[in-house]
Symmetry: C2
């Protein structure tokens, strides 16, 4: 903390910044001093944008994406009504999929994974709503793009069971990442890559 005195707002700002993921007390202090030293190019725009985003950001009522309208741009885009739906754990995963630029369907954001320990059930993840969407939007294919973790895969299995027979189902391939070196990969990845080897 900075010393007490006339810096209460600065101190409070440091406290808030320290609560962001990836920042601690020390980096929050550095960040705030950096902002104050760059008032025009950084601090003032940050104040305006945080205000705007606090006022306008909301979850898409249809898919759970974060945007500035009740129905997000992806759900509004008629060109993306391709009958193809991609199920992801959270909004960051949706954005990661979009950065690849390869998927032209729509999304369904679960907002987490099933967890008996944390009492997260299918309703909490909107899985019944997912089933409804598939009928309502005429979805014929679902890609499960969940994380390759135990929780992610458990959730994928549950969803696969729930959608069995209604749609064509697939999940992301598992294997060696592009640029990956075998020596640095875990056994599980190598096992998966070997099992799913491609004929040349």
């Amino acid at each position: 903390m900075p010393p007490p005195g006339d810096r209460d707002d600065i101190e409070a700002l440091i406290d808030l910044m320290a609560r962001l993921p990836g920042l601690g007390p020390r980096s929050a202090r550095r960040a705030v001093l950096h902002l104050i030293a760059r008032r025009g190019p950084l601090l003032t725009p940050l104040a305006e944008l945080t205000r705007k985003v606090a006022d306008t950001a909301r979850e898409c009522l249809n898919c759970g994406n974060i945007g500035t309208s009740d129905i997000c741009a992806i759900c509004r885009d008629e060109r993306r009504a391709t009958g193809l739906l991609c199920v992801v754990e959270d909004v960051a995963d949706l954005w990661a999929m979009e950065r690849s630029g390869q998927f032209r369907g729509r999304y369904h954001v679960l907002g987490g994974t099933l967890s008996a320990l944390d009492a997260v059930g299918p309703e909490d993840l909107g899985i019944p709503r997912l089933v409804d969407r598939i009928a309502a939007e005429g979805i014929s294919e679902v890609i499960l793009a969940l994380n390759a973790t135990i929780d992610g895969q458990t959730t994928a299995h549950y969803i696969a069971d729930a959608l069995e027979g209604r749609v064509t189902l697939s999940s992301l391939a598992q294997g060696v990442p592009i640029g990956g070196e075998l020596d640095y990969l875990d056994d599980g990845t190598i096992t998966a890559a070997l099992a799913a080897r491609k004929p040349l």
Copy 2:
């Protein structure tokens, strides 16, 4: 980046956050999603505080500390007119000194170190103003609390020359940090600690 569409403000906020020290594009995305998910406790207060700090934060005209008034709380505090002045490189260093709670004098923030390469001269660091302050405020002792880097020590030598004969001068002790293990310390630190060894 999130996909294009109706998320321009969110995208702009991520871009700005990614320019903070310690954050990159990925952690900025995580931070912004974290903020949006915690609008009440985090995003709205952050918007208010960044606005307030953007409006009120300023450099103390006397010492260079960051505060919300023209003369900072430390310079205004008459109990700290002890004739003792601590010279630091930047405001973060001043705050670090204050956290120790041991120094009861006032400060002089240089705002950097002398550097021939970056054309930073004594005027840029307010060293002539430091000499004036010593006369004006009746300073009798100056502690040089500069970083133990080449640039920090070069600057300390320059200031020591400039103040020679006017005040009692000292610099922070160099040695083994509290909790430090010899095996993990560099040769320079061990050499310094050995040279400055204390009789028991």
